[in-house]
């Protein structure tokens, strides 16, 4: 273990530096290209077909 720990520590610190610079998130996000420019005038007309529409209700 003592031989491998320095490499493990270096990898974790490298990840931390990358996360601090560029950000790291568990948020589920999709990137879609070619969004039509007309969406600014009629935002309701555009909905990504790549997303699954769902929502949950909570509370009593």
């Amino acid at each position: 273990m003592k031989r491998w720990y320095p490499f493990w520590a270096a990898a974790v610190l490298g990840w931390l530096a990358w996360a601090c610079l560029f950000g790291f998130s568990f948020t589920d996000a999709d990137e879609v290209k070619s969004v039509p420019k007309s969406v600014r005038n009629n935002p309701g007309s555009y909905r990504s077909h790549y997303r699954y529409y769902y929502h949950t209700h909570t509370g009593k």
């Binding site: 950000g23 790291f24 948020t27 879609v32 420019k37 909570t58």
Partner: protein, 469 residues
Amino acid sequence: MSSPQCPGCQAPLETRRLDDGIDVDFCPSCYGVWYDVSDLAIDLPLDATRESGRLCPRDGAGLLEGKAAGTEVVADRCPTCGGVWLDAGEVQKLRQALGVDNLVGKGGAQSAPPPLPKKGTTGPHPAAASRPAREKAERASRRAEPRDSSSESNADETYCPTVAHQERVYQHFQTSWPKATFVLGEFPWRVQVGDEAKTRDFIHPPFLISQEVTKEDRTWSHGVYLEPSEVWSGFGLEGAPPEPRGTAPAQPNPHKEDWASVGLWGTVAVAAALGLFILFSASAKRRPVFSGSFAADPAAGAPAAGVPPSPDAAPNAVVTPEFDLAGARPASVRIRTVTNVENSWLFLRFALVNAETDTATHFEREISYYHGVDDGESWSEGSRSDTVYLSGVRPGRYYLLIDPEFDRGASYAVEVTWDQPRIFHLFLASALLLIPFGWVYARMRSFEVSRWAESDHPMTQVSDDEDDE
């Protein structure tokens, strides 16, 4: 009322009842024996007494030491109560020297000890008795006196004594009472079947100290653990030694070195992680680039009476003004939403659109908040606010598309911040750095549990219940 203390080592004395109903006190630590004057069957005057520095366990008076009853055995006697203290082994020596089977008897010291044979007279001397007779006498004496070799009287299990030697403290490992049942080979001392001893092992890995106590002497031995390969090569044996089984008492823990190394590296790594985070946080922009408030209104864009609503209608969808995410490298974007939902929910579909490349990043957030009172106790569930981070967003001009769905009407405010560091990254990195600690500690402890499993002080107790549910 505290129990009387041993005059020799101040450990609490324990009382044992002998076969003839007489109670005597003995020390479970140094195995000395105290006799009250009423317990003694013979008189034990001391010759040429002087203060021994020890105290009587009955009345605290200073004991006097001297040779007992004309023998070479040194005993301690209390000048006030008349009780006698004999160190370990001296009871047997005194019985042998006086030629008696027992020092104790009912009625106290009523008769003088049998006279020692004078020089030149015939008649057997106790020490010169025939071997069977001598062995019989010794067996009888052992039955009469407190017998250490009983499972109930292993006081080391309770007191866990230690031994200090050459600046090391050795922990008690095991006490046993071996008995010779078979003899084969040559020995530098006389060994015969039936010989008994009491052995106590103390460890300070890789070192071990053993004490062996017999009727005649007390021997200390010091040893050091050797790896099987060292033993094999020491004897010049060919091939490899067999694989070891189990854990030896003084076997060094192979994981201790790992523990020390991981501890040092881990401390340095966690400190480095903290330093990195502070450095990057200090240089982060943390710039608010957009802030706006919007409403999710059920009445907005309602179709005229009799006109069916368009399936694509989203009257509450909004497009924010463009904002700049300026910089030389991709960074994180924080989007914080605060609402006024009240026992309802608000579902928001976001799209962060790059105005220059028409590339959108889609994500969805649900915000709900419920609260009430049940049986006089208030409760709440959810939150009115939400924060989401997007990583690796390239610099450029962006705008937000927000399409809400809702249960009832609500208003919400959205704030966008560019290049916002997260302390979550530091916590996650620290946890990852500390995972090996747990692994090494578990292995180190497992080894110690295995080492002490066969000792008088096991680290875990195994239940013997047969009716476990």
